[in-house]
């Protein structure tokens, strides 16, 4: 009825008067709308837009946080590429991301599939696998420091019992990054739950039809399960990517215990950024690092989204 009213109103009025009224209504609605979303807009401007553009500006300056910033052009950016510690930090972060991202996706998805099976005690298993993700991050780190201590840790004690020489974990250049990757895999409860929810959203009749067509378990996984949850996989991959490139807390906490970091092997990008800004008061340099990270993350995310048309299936697109 409302649509009809509007239509008839348009027919009855002159085009000029209709335009004036609708403009006035739109303006009023706009004002009210803006008023109600203003807290979010203010928050966005203050805590996202301003820091973003300020970081971009400071990345071209010599700025210590107190004195006035002096514009130095691209000097901070060129210094980055001559900085050996920066290269180490980039390499370590890349290494961590390259292993952690696919492993976390596969493990979380695999766990979700197992927990989606109709077995006895399923609720208990789900709870057990989710619990690590609700343990505070710092507590998780401390636990890993203890259990992975080569001298007194339970992991090496078990390996010794099996006559396997335990590695030096966080204390070894070879094993320090894998130790962090294992720590990352321990708290996969969040993506696992998201995958589990998406698996439960797949209509059962699709599996029934596939089975009738003669599809085995692997084919059902490949041609039904994965395509149906591919948007969720994309979402989780992007989320994990951001978490991997901004890896900080775990490394900082563990290294504060005089653990890890041999030969700069666990010196991650954001740790170095933090050190430059707050320990060395080189906010300009740290801003350049931050913007570099933004650009790299942005490029990888765009590539992921561009490639998603090949491997992500949106049911709505087919209608």
């Amino acid at each position: 009825m409302k649509g009809r009213h509007t239509l008839e109103l348009r027919e009855a009025r002159t085009p000029a008067s209709t335009a004036v009224i609708s403009r006035s209504i739109r303006r009023r609605q706009m004002r009210i709308g803006l008023l109600f979303v203003s807290p979010w807009i203010l928050g966005f401007l203050a805590f996202f837009a301003y820091p973003f553009f300020a970081t971009l500006y400071y990345s071209f300056t010599n700025f210590n946080g107190v004195s006035a910033a002096k514009i130095i052009g691209f000097a901070n950016y060129s210094s980055l590429f001559h900085d050996s510690l920066f290269r180490s930090a980039v390499f370590n972060t890349f290494y961590y991301t390259a292993f952690e991202l696919p492993l976390s996706t596969i493990v979380a998805l695999g766990l979700a599939m197992l927990l989606n099976m109709n077995v006895r005690g399923r609720a208990i298993y789900r709870t057990v696998f989710y619990i690590p993700s609700i343990v505070p991050l710092v507590a998780s780190c401390m636990i890993f420091v203890w259990i992975f201590n080569p001298t007194s840790g339970v992991v090496n004690a078990l390996l010794t019992g099996l006559h396997i020489p335990g590695p030096d974990w966080f204390f070894s250049i070879t094993w320090s990054k894998p130790s962090f990757i294992i720590l990352g895999l321990w708290g996969l409860g969040q993506p696992m739950v998201i995958y589990l929810a998406s698996l439960q959203g797949i209509p059962k009749d699709m599996y029934e039809v596939a089975a009738l067509e003669g599809a085995g378990p692997f084919q059902r996984l490949r041609h039904v399960t994965l395509p149906m949850i591919s948007p969720i996989i994309l979402f989780n991959v992007v989320l994990q990517l951001v978490l991997c490139v901004s890896y900080f807390t775990q490394a900082q906490v563990i290294e504060s215990q005089d653990v890890g970091g041999p030969g700069n092997s666990t010196w991650f990008f954001v740790q170095y950024l933090y050190e430059q800004a707050f320990n060395f008061l080189r906010f300009g340099y740290a801003s350049a690092m931050g913007f570099f990270l933004f650009i790299v993350t942005g490029i990888v995310t765009v590539v992921l989204f561009k490639s998603s048309s090949r491997w992500v299936y949106y049911a709505g697109d087919q209608e």
């Binding site: 201590n149 030969g263 060395f280």
Partner: protein, 458 residues
């Protein structure tokens, strides 16, 4: 239909007036009230101070300590507040892991504490960037003799370009601890008097069985930062070239020191560190292999024997001794390092803050400080406090402390010069030490790396 449609406008307007507009107005008014309240609350202290010039001045003192030291700080503030009715100090703590970020943010935001206790090597950066106030203008009248009253290394640790920016409330001093029973088991009759003897004795004490480390002799990686802490022993604390740039790579004493550190690369770096970490995590970070009786020699400070051993391994009491490090330079020495109090830029009450800082150091407050420093396992910032009866009583009861105190005034003791890249230098020294011990850098490359980081443009 037209009439109906024409009625929609007034109805919408009515709804707008009765519900939407009042709600929006209320929301805006509430936000304004909240902002005004916040502003009033935040400005109360300053307003009160401005209106009542003779009222109590509130000082905020921020530290990064935790645990038992907080009791000690509480005693200090209580004593100060009692004896200074015009000033009231409130002490607050922040975690040391985020202390640098917190104080940098506070200074940048223009809302710092009046006093901050800083032990990280950042005073050069702070002074160079104008992040802290110079205290030199206050060194007049009854404070005129303050600098001469302190140990020279305490003054040097707070001086940048001839201006005093920081005064330590206490100092650290480093010497060689030795485990008596490990020495006896290794057939060593007395503590080493030369560097060569230390190396030889240490070599006898290492125990590795089936590829696993059981006992450490001596390892030159103090708190993850070996090179810096040994520089005074080798006379390599401040190596600059004629242009005023760091030049450790061409400094004979620094080369000697780094080569000495590299001689320990034959021992298993990762196992030494994991053993230290294992004992550290057991006792909340206060323990280490020496406290546990698993290390023959260790270079560390008085707190090891005064606090760590009595608390976490009483079995070690009476089983250790302390000697000045048998260095290559003329006599006993230590690197100048301490708990320096600073007045951040933008502090509300800098003059009162200075009065409190001088009091904390023990200036015109000798007896109180002399009785408090032993509780923290600290070495005083001034020989006058060290000579006070309360402190001497502590030394007499614990004679192993004597080397720490006697080397404070040594002409061979040195403080790393405050420079705009002081913390970068220290971070590089730590990295270089680890890399040398890990075989990932040669000693010469490590020194070049230290120079490159120390000379980085700020």
């Amino acid at each position: 239909m037209i009439e109906q449609a024409q009625h929609d406008g007034p109805i919408r307007q009515l709804k707008y007036r009765r519900f939407v507009k009042p709600t929006a107005m209320f929301a805006v008014a509430a936000m304004m009230v909240a902002l005004v309240s916040y502003g009033t609350a935040g400005g109360t202290t300053k307003t009160t101070k401005a209106v009542k010039p003779h009222s109590v001045v509130n000082l905020t003192w921020e530290t990064m300590w935790s645990g038992n030291t907080l009791t000690l700080l509480n005693q200090m503030t209580t004593a100060f507040n009692k004896t200074h009715p015009g000033i009231h100090v409130t002490e607050t703590n922040i975690p040391s892991s985020t202390g640098l970020a917190k104080i940098a943010s506070q200074i940048a935001a223009g809302d710092p504490p009046d006093v901050f206790t800083q032990w990280w090597p950042v005073l050069g950066e702070y002074a160079a960037t104008g992040s802290i106030d110079s205290m030199s203008p206050y060194l007049t009248g009854k404070y005129a003799g303050l600098e001469k009253w302190e140990y020279p290394i305490a003054v040097a640790g707070g001086t940048y370009k001839n201006q005093l920016y920081a005064i330590p409330m206490s100092m650290n001093s480093w010497a060689l601890y030795y485990n008596k029973s490990i020495m006896a088991a290794a057939g060593i009759k007395s503590p080493p008097k030369t560097l060569a003897q230390l190396d030889a004795d240490s070599a006898k004490e290492w125990v590795v069985k089936s590829g696993r480390l059981i006992q450490i002799g001596e390892y030159p990686n103090v708190d993850g930062n070996g090179f810096e802490f040994f520089t005074s022993f080798f006379g390599a604390t401040n190596c600059f070239n004629s242009a005023g740039k760091y030049d450790f790579a061409n400094c004979p004493n620094a080369i000697k020191e780094m080569n000495w550190i590299a001689s320990f690369a034959k021992y298993p770096y990762s196992q030494v560190n994991s053993m230290e970490a294992a004992y550290g995590s057991v006792a909340g970070g206060d323990d280490d292999a020496f406290v546990a009786g698993k290390e023959g020699f260790q270079v560390t400070g008085p707190w090891e024997g005064a606090q760590n051993i009595p608390v976490t391994n009483v079995g070690m009491e009476g089983n250790f001794g302390v000697e000045a490090f048998p260095g290559t330079v003329g006599g006993p020495s230590t690197i100048g390092q301490g708990n320096f109090n600073i007045i951040p830029k933008g502090a509300s009450n800098p003059k009162d803050a200075f009065e409190f800082i001088a009091w904390l150091a023990g200036f015109n407050n000798t007896n109180f400080t002399a009785s408090e420093d032993p509780l923290g396992g600290w070495v005083p910032a001034s020989p006058a406090v060290a000579a006070a009866p309360a402190y001497q009583k502590w030394i007499a009861a614990n004679p192993w402390l004597k080397p720490f105190l006697s080397q404070m005034g040594s002409k061979y003791s040195a403080t790393p010069a405050l420079t705009p890249t002081e913390s970068q230098l220290e971070a590089a020294e730590a990295t270089a030490t680890n890399n040398v011990l890990e075989h990932t850098m040669t000693p010469a490359a490590a020194l070049r790396y230290i120079d490159s980081q120390g000379n980085v443009s700020s």
